[in-house]
Structure formats: structure tokens, C-alpha cells
Symmetry: C2
Subunit: 222 residues, 2 copies
């Protein structure tokens, strides 16, 4: 997972942003960070000529993004059969209040990946993909919970999407008000941070009373 | 915005969920709640035969979802010209830890809307759409900040998407472990809530010192 040896992000016509060039980053480190921080992505594909966008679990290993879902879901089947996909992950960081409505905005980080996914097959490769997905959703669970049976492994679809064609778009910082508005408008201007945090773990109703919350869950809350 | 007079959600083949029927809701009230709580949606469309998914600001008024962006953005132009779109909004509520990796999951609420958007034109209609969008992102800003000039109004694209063909999918509750795992597996099982909250407002660096945080921003934090 060496960050330094990774190729720069592509700059194909699709990822060469036309708008807001100052928000376009080509930083692979930033791409990785967005994908590692976001818990879900949105998988887009074309089914019967029409766009479909579904929230999807994901996990990154180096320059591969793993996706998964039920092996019977039509969107996953189409994506695993080599359909072109667009995967987008978005982190909303702040609402930006400006003196003008025009410059109200959001501070955010988003990653868009284009490409064709491949269905991961073979026991070892599938277990590796599932491990990456599990450790993204719930770090520490892979070694704590019961692993998949052969039947369970067959019932889940794991897709692998290379991070070859990708773009990152972010906005940070204060509002970009017009100088005349800064001078003349009395409205408040600034940023309102949107925080994400973990709440207290809630044990399952059928968990044996007194079962302690394990360290891998506990440390996520701290 | 009467909830009771709204038609039930459609059940076309696309929105008739094949998987996890117990997670499929057809509750229009729930659809509205998801769209009102999510701050951004993901707009999917087909450009040059390929899927594109972009994070997009939104705001709901009754059975209309307004979307907006720069009037020069190719995705907005295509969507406003009547291309089919799929708009998905997802709220992630909890990570679900189970005794088996197979039943690790997420509690979430997602809304998927299919249809064709129309570009909102005409000064009054566009102002109405912008008001809905503004009050969704930053309630109270419409009456507090400077309104759009004619030039600014011309430079923004507002789209209106009817909530005719939509589906809601949610998962709530504890892990759904197999009975054998509940009896035999020692792993912890439960839910870890993901909280969203507003942090303290950060004034713009060029805001006059001593400018108070207005009530419409302040009350969001409380």
C-alpha cells in the first residue's frame, strides 16, 4: 500500500473537471483517504439503458476498491459481468454560510472512480476481498467473529474495481464572498462543521448478560 | 405538503425490490423523511452511454425534489434536458456486529428516485426552487443573506424531479444471527450508532469582530 509508488490519478476527459478547477485535486493520497474514511459509496451503472445508483459497502486495498452485496442482486451481477460503473464516495464536512445566497456552499470531499469491476472468484481471493470489506466496516471483526462457511462464501458477490481512472473534488475553507458583499452586507458568514462520531455500543437483546464490549468495538468509540 | 394525500410509492419493476423484501418500504412519509434529513444526494445519469454519479445539493417541496448546481456543468445540463436520472440519498445509522461475519451489516435508510428532471425556468419558479434548496442546506439563510441578482440567478441551474417512481430501503434493529451461532459463538453482537451532530460555528476570517452568530445558525447546534 505504498502511497509513493502509486501512479498519479488519470486525467481522461471524464476526470478532467470542467468546473471549479480549484476544487479538483489529482492527489492519490487524498483519494485513498476519502475512500478509507467513507463507510459507503454509491455504485452507479446502466441497466436496460437507464441509470441506477445504489449505496454499497466498500473497502480499499492498495489500488483496488472492493465492493460487495448479495450475489443475487441484479446491479451486482451486471457490475461483476463487466459493465461500466461509476463509484462515488462523498464526505460532507461543513455547511458554508456566506453574505450572499449565491456563495452558500458545502465543504466536502468526494471521490469518483470510473471503470469496470471484475467479480472476485476463487476461495482465497474472495476471502481476501471479504477481509478488506469487513475490516473497513468493522475493524477487528475478522478475527473476532465466525468466518464464512463455504455456502456463505458462495452466496456473497465480491467485486474488485481498479483505482485507475479517478478524480477527487473538494471544497475547504471560508465562504468566497464578493468584496462588495463583505463591505456592505450585514449577514453572518462562516462555517458550520458537521461532525460524525460513534455512540455507545448497544448489545443485541439475545447477548448473554454481562458479555463485555470487546476492545475492537470499544476503541472505536473513544 | 400534506403527507396523507400523497399517492403511495410506485411499484414498477425497478422499484419492486427483488432482494431483502423485508427491508423494502413503500411508505411515502419515510421517503420524505430520508430526503429531508440527508443533506446531499447522489445524482446518477448516463452520459455518452456511461454511468456518472455526482454528489448534488437537494431540497424537497411536497412531491418535488429540487436539485441544483452550476448551469455550465454537463451532468446538470443533461439532466435538465430530460435525460433519465436516478437520485439516491442514503443515511447510515449504525454498524451491526454479529456473531458471524456473514451477518455483519449496516442499519441505514436509503431512498432511490427514478425519473426525468425538468430545468426550472422563469424568475419566480427558479426563486422558489432556490429557496427550497437554501432552506434545506441552511434553514433561515433565505431571509438573512443577500438574495440572488439577475445575473446570479441566470448562472445557476435548478432542476425539479417529481417523486413519482421511488423506493425506500431500510435496515433497523439487532443483528440477525443464525440460532446455532447465538448458542455457540462467543463473539460480541450488537449495534454501534453513527452520530451526526453540528460543531461550533467558525466565523469567516473577514467577518467584523464581535458579529454574533445569528439565531438560525445557533439553534442548529443546540
Amino acid at each position: 500500500m505504498s502511497e509513493t509508488s502509486a501512479p498519479p490519478l488519470s486525467s481522461t476527459p471524464r476526470t478532467r473537471l470542467n468546473r471549479a478547477k480549484n476544487r479538483a485535486g489529482t492527489d492519490r493520497v487524498q483519494l485513498h483517504r476519502i475512500l478509507d474514511e467513507a463507510l459507503v459509496c454509491h455504485l452507479g451503472l446502466v441497466l436496460d439503458g437507464r441509470p441506477v445508483v445504489l449505496p454499497t459497502g466498500m473497502g480499499r486495498d492498495g489500488e483496488t476498491l472492493y465492493l460487495h452485496g448479495s450475489s443475487g442482486a441484479s446491479s451486482l451481477l451486471a457490475a461483476g459481468a463487466g459493465a461500466e460503473v461509476c463509484v462515488t464516495a462523498t464526505l460532507l464536512d461543513e455547511v458554508v454560510y456566506a453574505r450572499s445566497l449565491q456563495h452558500h456552499s458545502m465543504n466536502y470531499r468526494s471521490a469518483v472512480i470510473y471503470g469496470r469491476a471484475r467479480a472476485v472468484t476463487g476461495r482465497d481471493a474472495k476471502l481476501h476481498g471479504l477481509r478488506v470489506l469487513t475490516e473497513h466496516l468493522s475493524p477487528g471483526s475478522w478475527d473476532h467473529a465466525r468466518g464464512p462457511s463455504a455456502k456463505e462464501l458462495a452466496g456473497v458477490a465480491v467485486l474488485a474495481l481498479p483505482l485507475d481512472e479517478a478524480s477527487v473534488k473538494t471544497r475547504t475553507g471560508p465562504p468566497a464572498d464578493d468584496p462588495a458583499d463583505v463591505a456592505e452586507q450585514p449577514a453572518w458568514a462562516g462555517r458550520l462543521p458537521l461532525r460524525r462520531s460513534w455512540g455507545e455500543p448497544v448489545p443485541a437483546p439475545d447477548l448473554a448478560p454481562g458479555t463485555p464490549v470487546p476492545e475492537h468495538v470499544r476503541r472505536r468509540v473513544r
